[in-house]
């Protein structure tokens, strides 16, 4: 059985490698410089945008896998340099984004977990707040951006606010759901032992609802990491989203692809950390 499982894992890894090779191969073929096709009619707008050389095809603006590899390597060798406000290492940019996400996420958790507790424990509060949650939850977090910029007047704090607002809903809803779903018999145990409300909240309700709360946090972090790129594209200044936008203006597709890869990897790590935390608090019934 174990051997079979191992072989399955091995075969899956081989297949992944094969798919990777195929993608890189196709990519390589598609970006081969095409010799002697420089006279095709080119939309002048497009030419202006991507540069004449690229538009006429003598050298594609689309980098080859090797180009991207070289760029990635260059970034990894020196991720934390700072050369002026518009030229910072990709590691620095990722750190900015990560910092905003974690700050916004932490603030959201500070609000969502206690409020979710209240909603989960009191049917009155639940009914009173439900319409607000239902209306605000589906709003794209970026729609808040102008409002945030206008009221806060600080682009860095505004993007943190946007992260806050997008990560608050899943945590709020999951906490309320988890707290409301705590088994009556566990609460009765606590009542027959004359346990006070605070000890009951921390020793019974919180551990009972913890797996559901952690699921909400995992969803929230995922959404926050999606949103931060867009938010930073809007407000500019620093961060991986700004980096991507800046490289688009520089027309450095290799840098953009590198950033995409790194955004994916950081997102993966965030998700795995939350999954690991969730596993710590789950209990078998």
């Amino acid at each position: 059985m174990a051997a079979f499982k191992n072989s399955l894992r091995l075969r899956a890894a081989l297949l992944s490698l094969l798919i990777f090779a195929a993608i890189v191969g196709l990519w390589q073929i598609a970006t081969q410089p095409v010799a002697g096709s420089g006279t095709a009619a080119v939309d002048p707008e497009y030419a202006k945008l991507v540069g004449v050389a690229a538009a006429t095809g003598s050298k594609s603006a689309m980098p080859t896998p090797a180009d991207v590899g070289a760029t990635l390597w260059k970034h990894l060798l020196d991720p934390f340099y700072i050369r002026g406000s518009n030229d910072k290492g990709i590691g620095i940019q990722l750190a900015y984004s990560l910092g905003r996400v974690l700050l916004g996420f932490a603030l959201a958790a500070l609000v969502a977990v206690p409020l979710g507790f209240l909603i989960g424990m009191s049917p009155l509060v639940y009914r009173a707040l439900d319409p607000f949650i239902q209306v605000l939850k589906p709003v794209s977090p970026l729609a808040w951006m102008p409002l945030a910029l206008y009221t806060i007047k600080d682009s860095a704090i505004s993007s943190i606010f946007v992260i806050f607002i997008c990560s608050v809903w899943p945590m709020l809803i999951n906490t309320a759901f988890g707290v409301a779903g705590v088994r009556k018999e566990w609460l009765n145990v606590s009542r027959t032992l004359e346990v006070g409300p605070f000890r009951t909240a921390f020793k019974v309700i919180l551990p009972a609802a913890a797996p559901t709360i952690m699921t909400g946090m995992r969803i929230s972090v995922g959404i926050a990491w999606l949103v931060i790129v867009a938010a930073e594209m809007l407000v500019g200044g620093t961060g991986i989203g700004y980096f991507v936008w800046n490289e688009w203006n520089n027309l450095s597709i290799a840098n953009i692809i590198t950033a995409i890869l790194l955004i994916g990897l950081v997102g993966l790590v965030l998700d795995q950390v939350l999954a690991w935390l969730a596993k710590l608090v789950t209990y078998p019934e």
């Binding site: 018999e185 566990w186 009765n188 145990v189 009542r191 027959t192 032992l193 004359e194 346990v195 000890r199 020793k203 019974v204 551990p207 009972a208 913890a210 608090v281 209990y283 078998p284 019934e285």
Partner: protein, 303 residues
């Protein structure tokens, strides 16, 4: 102040109705008591309201009418003096065996330090024979082991009385027998007052000093109270059926569960009924002289 001799637990005119006032109550106008150091069993069919009564006694549920007086004071909520062993074992699944019992112990004695709590908890884990399983989570335990943890948790707070809701009904016969013996031994040793729900006739005869018979709901009543005239020291699980009084008591209980519990209104019409002055019956004594006629053995439950 009513200084007349009240039992430790005194149930006075208890009714409980769910829903609006048009509905028939689950049970109505119950009057009975449990004396200090007595083992009292409540027997009745599924759904007649036994758990509801226990919840009221525990202070987890409020009666629609009437009151429960414990130690001459009306109860107004749960208390550490009344430990509950729940129908489902109700262990906290994220805590270990030790953690579950320690939770109860710290609730009882908040000022105790960790070591003292653990020592105390360990004593009760040993009492129910679970030494070695302290670090296990409930999910890793068998049904019988979980029930033992529930018992240890209830006993560890050294309550004045134990309220048990069918603590053994989910167990196989062998485990059930072992646990019954243990509970009997522990209760005798600590002089516990016990109120226990069951629908197992033999369990009631083995454990109880008095057996409260409840009719079928809705509108359930207490029909009568059967005194178990078999002395505690003559009740042994393995030769219970050899005791001269056994079949008489058993037949009386089975007869009640099979026939009388659902036709009790008819009985009231014929013989009258005062819920405040329940009949105390001693079928065992009647059997000692004239030989008991043996009713064919049926189980306590309706088929």
């Amino acid at each position: 102040m009513q200084q007349q001799q009240r039992p430790l637990i005194s149930v006075e005119g208890l009714s409980r109705r769910f829903g609006d006032s048009g509905q028939t109550p689950v049970f109505e106008d119950l009057w009975f008591g449990v004396d200090r150091a007595e083992f009292c069993c409540l027997i009745g069919h599924s759904g007649c309201g036994k758990t509801t009564i226990l919840n009221v006694l525990a202070g987890l549920d409020q009666p629609t009418e009437g009151a429960v007086i414990v130690d001459n004071r009306e109860i107004d909520g749960p208390s550490l003096d009344r430990a509950v062993i729940f129908q489902g074992h109700a262990l906290l699944p994220w805590l270990t065996v030790m953690g579950n019992i320690a939770f109860a112990v710290t609730s009882r004695w908040p000022s105790w330090d960790r070591a003292k709590v653990r020592d105390h908890a360990a004593k009760f884990i040993e009492l129910v024979g679970l030494t070695g399983a302290e670090g296990k989570r409930p999910a890793q335990l068998s049904g019988g082991m979980k029930q033992r943890v529930g018992i240890a948790r209830a006993l560890s707070i050294q309550p004045k009385m134990l309220l048990m809701d069918e603590p053994f009904s989910a167990l196989d016969a062998l485990t059930r027998g072992m646990l019954q013996d243990e509970v009997l031994r522990i209760c005798a040793a600590t002089n516990q007052t016990v109120f226990m729900i069951t629908h197992d006739v033999d369990e009631a005869i083995l454990l109880a000093d008095r057996i409260v018979l409840m009719t079928n709901g809705p509108g359930a009543k207490i029909a009568e109270i059967v005194v178990n005239t078999m002395p505690r020291n003559e009740r042994h699980r393995n030769d219970l059926h050899r005791h001269p009084q056994y079949y008489a008591i058993r037949n009386h209980l089975v007869e009640f569960l099979v026939n009388r519990s659902r036709a009790f209104d008819q009985e009231i019409a014929e013989h009258g009924y005062d819920p405040r002055r329940l009949k105390l019956v001693k079928p065992g004594l009647a059997a000692v002289n004239p030989p008991a006629e043996v009713v064919p053995l049926t189980t306590g439950r309706r088929q």
